[in-house]
Subunit: 387 residues, 2 copies
């Protein structure tokens, strides 16, 4: 099956927004084993949009469109599809009820314009939108499929996960599932080398992604039943874990902060932090996680610090005492205007009720570029220490 993606919206052509929907859909298609050959963007112009869709309909089997489903005159995706299919738009009573109810729930009358969002053509089935008023469209005609989704990434991704993905999977006649292993501490090239025999396997497939929280390894398997798929995933996961060991700190949607929250909660411990070169990013990462409400006691940022294991251990103990916490986590790193290129050197220490451990890192680059990596290193060191 050959796929194609079209994003619509004049704001894209003015460079006012970056298209994040295309890479999202592209990655999802890759995981499903569906070939994507072309993507394009087009403005809110009936003639040009129709031209782009017509070409896509001729050369591809399934076309994903995002954007242009709003209530205004400028939202023309419905008209473009209807025009190309040679079908007439008509208000669907069920959709009208849904949209009217959406506004009623907010205590306001539905603006007349929104009635445009309740229209369908005979070949289109509506795709429910849980987070907005614009339903998507699933159109089948002449052996081809057009899937039209809203432009706001949150709405699009919700609709993808709940409406589009199940339909694509059902169509493939097989169960397809993924499992992501999250690694930290190894470069992408190193991970690639260590797991290279698995990268050419076709079931399960293995793909590497460099993410802010490290190199993610996504295993995707396909089989006739849920159980069979799970078995394939588990076997490959075990093999990878044997190779990467402690470098795997989490799976799937887990975050480092969330895992720390889980481990601290299990042991009924709370945490305080001290940092220098990372300038508040350690505290901010932890407090940004919902889980931190239960365990975070406080943090201190001091720009000048001695860069040594002893200094990091001292800071961890001080943070623990100052904020009356069980666990102290400290980063003692260079914070020096004269040596910006040496920003990545730091010592990390953990103090759990007086039992201590420390490690050090040295990332090349400017401090602003490596602060996130130093913080992640500290979070993974805490995870492994707590384990």
């Amino acid at each position: 099956m050959k796929a194609e993606i079209i994003t619509s919206g004049t704001e894209l052509l003015l460079g006012e927004i970056t298209d994040v929907n295309t890479p999202y859909i592209a990655a999802q298609l890759a995981a499903l084993g569906i070939d994507l050959y072309y993507t394009s963007a087009v403005g809110d112009n009936l003639e040009r949009f129709t031209g782009v869709l017509k070409q896509a309909f001729e050369r591809s089997d399934i076309i994903f469109i995002t954007g242009g489903l709003g209530p205004t005159q400028g939202d023309i995706t419905r008209n473009v599809i209807a025009g190309l299919m040679g079908e007439k738009l008509a208000v669907n009573e069920e959709l009208k009820k849904e949209i009217t109810a959406y506004f009623a729930g907010r205590g306001v009358d539905m603006p007349e314009n929104n009635l445009r969002q309740a229209t369908l053509i005979p070949s289109a089935e509506a795709l429910h939108n849980v987070s907005g008023t614009a339903p998507g469209w699933w159109v089948e005609k002449s052996g081809k499929i057009i899937v039209s989704m809203p432009g706001p990434p949150g709405e699009m991704q919700d609709m993808w996960q709940k409406q589009v993905l199940p339909r694509l999977k059902a169509r493939s006649g097989a169960v397809i599932l993924s499992r992501t292993l999250k690694s930290w501490g190894l470069s992408e090239a190193k991970v690639d080398q260590l797991v290279s025999p698995f990268l050419s396997s076709s079931n399960p497939t293995l793909a590497l992604y460099a993410r802010q929280d490290g190199i993610n390894l996504r295993i995707t398997a396909k089989a006739a039943t849920q159980e069979a798929v799970q078995k394939i995933l588990r076997a490959r996961e075990e093999e990878i874990r044997k190779i990467l060991g402690e470098n795997i700190w989490g799976v799937d949607e887990m975050t480092m902060e969330g895992e720390i929250g889980r481990l601290l909660g299990k042991k009924k411990l709370n945490l305080a932090v001290a940092e220098s070169s990372t300038g508040g990013l350690l505290a901010y990462s932890l407090t940004g996680a919902v889980e931190s409400r239960g365990f975070f006691r406080g943090g201190v940022v001091l720009p000048v610090d001695e860069v040594s294991a002893a200094a990091a251990l001292k800071r961890a103990a001080e943070a623990r005492e100052k904020f009356r916490a069980h666990v102290g986590l400290a980063i003692a790193g260079d914070y020096d205007s004269k040596r910006q290129s040496a920003g990545g050197r730091a010592f990390i220490a953990v103090d759990i009720n007086g039992a201590t451990g420390s490690t050090d890192v040295n990332y090349p680059g400017r401090l602003t570029q490596v602060a996130r990596r130093i913080v992640n290193h500290a979070l993974v060191f805490l995870i492994n220490t707590l384990k």
Copy 2:
């Protein structure tokens, strides 16, 4: 002039990277007043890439291509252009010297593959690459232009600013300059309403952009001479400043942290901070700026806080004393797991050697979404207090 953008690379179609080159070029073209009607992405496939470029060459006047200029067999942009133009690739001796020198400068021999990057066709002029080995191409034929640039965004933007933009401006026969005014504290709709008479002007133009540091207002003017352009820009800037007043906190490339550094430096003051709901983001924003090396004395993050002006003032004074600083800046905001939807309420206080001031904000939304806005509000409050 009708423009079109093509990004090449199979990694785009696999969703492994997000295309940031297209929005960059699109925004640059918008500022130049060049119409962009189509953008597309295509994989490293000779036939499909050629098809996409052929169509672009037929319907557009100038085509910008990014990617596919590397030294490997998979980098086919040169071949695609040569094929469509019906011209032969040949090694250019000057380019060969430059690339050889690049490798010699790093103490290594040039791999044979890199010779591919020294090739040109008769219609192509090389565009110098300051940050990599791949030169770009400026191709003119049959009254149309093809501009080919490297894929890595840093290299592409350098080449755009130093090689492509000057050629485009020279071609327009006029001087085009922009000035950006940075506002904080007003919604995009409000700014839009206040400056609406200027939004329909065609010289200078005015465009609004919602950015992390507020609503940016970009004025772009066109005239025969540098002086004439500057005069138009200044006049419009003054008119806008009269309307938006203290809501304008900076211009062009300025950052809030940089402006704070400049103002503190001028008055020979240093700074300490205290925060609650923003969880370290205030300290991290300030320390992330190079300028902070001179003035940042320290910060404290305490999760539980009283949410009042008095609490913020007390914290600001405490921070000043604890870190022996001249200026204390504090944010006292809700940090409560039970009221995540009320995360945006916060009091902000500044204490300059005992002279104090405070303000408050209340952004709707979850804390993780509004922390950045609360911090920005505090930074702008400090800027205006220092002024």
